[in-house]
């Protein structure tokens, strides 16, 4: 994370920063998005402050659902659908993971005093990575309509791949090789986990 942040930071600082960081005024139609982002913020703070594991997981899924709402408002229904189903699945798996631990371990961990002392290094890394992520997101918010030529090209080319929907065309055709490699990695990970579990069971 640190090298990526440093490189991105250099790129941002060397470019014409003035135009990049001007997202324009907040329109009335963007108020629902702002409200949803507010919910995300509240949920994330809850995740950090809560002591109960279940409360943390539920707050995290709340943040994910609110983010999915934002995607829907931004005109990305495919992404919103994926975000919703993945949020549901990950919540289920996180709860199942916590349920695997014995009650005593969970109770003990919840009652442990919160670590007060943070090393300088942790703070520095947090500020660096957080700051530059913020800068990148801020810059992407100030893109103008005309800047997204690639998106328009994809939309125009989608029908040549038998698809009326650009996202489907990208996944199965334009960047199909990418998808193929990703699912292969998924299967390899599954095989690895299975092998680990079997080794553990035999021990």
């Amino acid at each position: 994370m640190v090298p990526v942040s440093l490189l991105l930071g250099l790129a941002l600082l060397s470019g014409d920063a003035g135009a990049l960081f001007n997202p324009g005024p907040l329109g009335r139609s963007e108020l629902p998005q702002a409200a949803a982002l507010g919910i995300v913020l509240i949920a994330i703070v809850t995740v950090v402050l809560a002591r109960n594991h279940l409360a943390q997981i539920l707050a995290l899924s709340c943040a994910e659902y609110a983010l999915a709402t934002v995607y829907a408002f931004r005109g990305a229904p495919d992404l919103a659908l994926v975000a919703v189903v993945v949020a549901t699945l990950s919540t289920l798996f996180l709860v199942a993971l916590v349920a695997l631990f014995p009650h005593r371990v969970l109770d003990r961990q919840e009652r442990e005093p919160r670590g007060k002392r943070r090393g300088l290094q942790e703070v520095a890394v947090g500020v660096l990575v957080g700051g530059f992520s913020f800068a990148v997101v801020w810059a992407s918010l100030s893109w103008k309509e005309g800047d997204v030529k690639l998106a328009r090209t994809y939309m125009e080319l989608a029908p040549t791949a038998h698809a009326g929907d650009a996202v489907t065309a990208i996944l199965s055709d334009f960047r199909g090789l990418d998808t193929m490699a990703e699912v292969s990695v998924l299967i390899i990970a599954l095989l690895g986990i299975g092998a680990l579990m079997r080794a553990r069971r035999q021990r």
């Binding site: 229904p77 495919d78 659908l81 994926v82 189903v85 993945v86 549901t88 699945l89 289920l92 798996f93 199942a96 993971l97 695997l100 631990f101 014995p102 005593r104 371990v105 003990r108 009652r111 442990e112 005093p113 040549t160 791949a161 038998h162 698809a163 009326g164 929907d165 996202v167 489907t168 065309a169 996944l171 199965s172 055709d173 199909g176 090789l177 998808t179 193929m180 699912v183 292969s184 998924l186 299967i187 599954l190 986990i193 299975g194 579990m197 553990r200 069971r201």
Partner: protein
């Protein structure tokens, strides 16, 4: 112990959700959705059944037992659709029929290889999620393992006393 009502309601919930997931998969080329989200929706329906059933029954569910096979079958479908065009000299992943040519269709379902590719991804996601579910519902042997390793370290007692 699972409430009886929930068990009886399960098929009425699982089957429609599976149908919806197939709809997301096959209508993906003209609207919202793709193989991945359709797979997650189907996996959620089957996982609902896993949660409702008792542990032993869930282990015996055909979808849970066959899950790794389903995932590998999906990978084979994806690899075959991706690599087969190379055999007759076309670039990787050139889907049949040609762009612009009309594909045979079954209602709204257009039969071309991009849909086959998406179906492979659907199978991989379903198989992966259900295999993970199998890891989460361990047999009684692994459960004993966990409690045994947990009993060992009585270290952080001191911190509790201080608090």
């Amino acid at each position: 112990v699972t409430p009886d009502l929930l068990r009886r309601a399960t098929p009425a919930i699982v089957m429609p959700v599976l149908v919806v997931s197939l709809a997301i998969l096959f209508k993906a080329s003209d609207g919202v959705g793709d193989g991945f989200s359709a797979g997650v929706v189907a996996a959620l329906a089957l996982l609902f059944q896993v949660v409702v059933l008792e542990r032993d029954e869930a282990q015996r569910m055909i979808a849970v037992r066959a899950a790794p096979l389903v995932a590998v079958a999906g990978l084979l479908i994806v690899l075959l659709t991706a690599l087969a065009p190379v055999v007759w000299g076309a670039p990787l992943l050139s889907h049949q029929p040609e762009p612009g040519a009309s594909a045979p269709h079954l209602g709204v379902l257009k039969l071309h290889t991009a849909v086959l590719f998406d179906s492979g991804i659907f199978l991989i996601v379903v198989g992966f999620a259900l295999s993970a579910a199998r890891l989460y519902t361990p047999s009684s042997a692994t459960e004993q393992d966990i409690t045994r390793t947990e009993r060992a370290p009585p270290a952080p007692r001191r911190e509790e006393e201080r608090a």
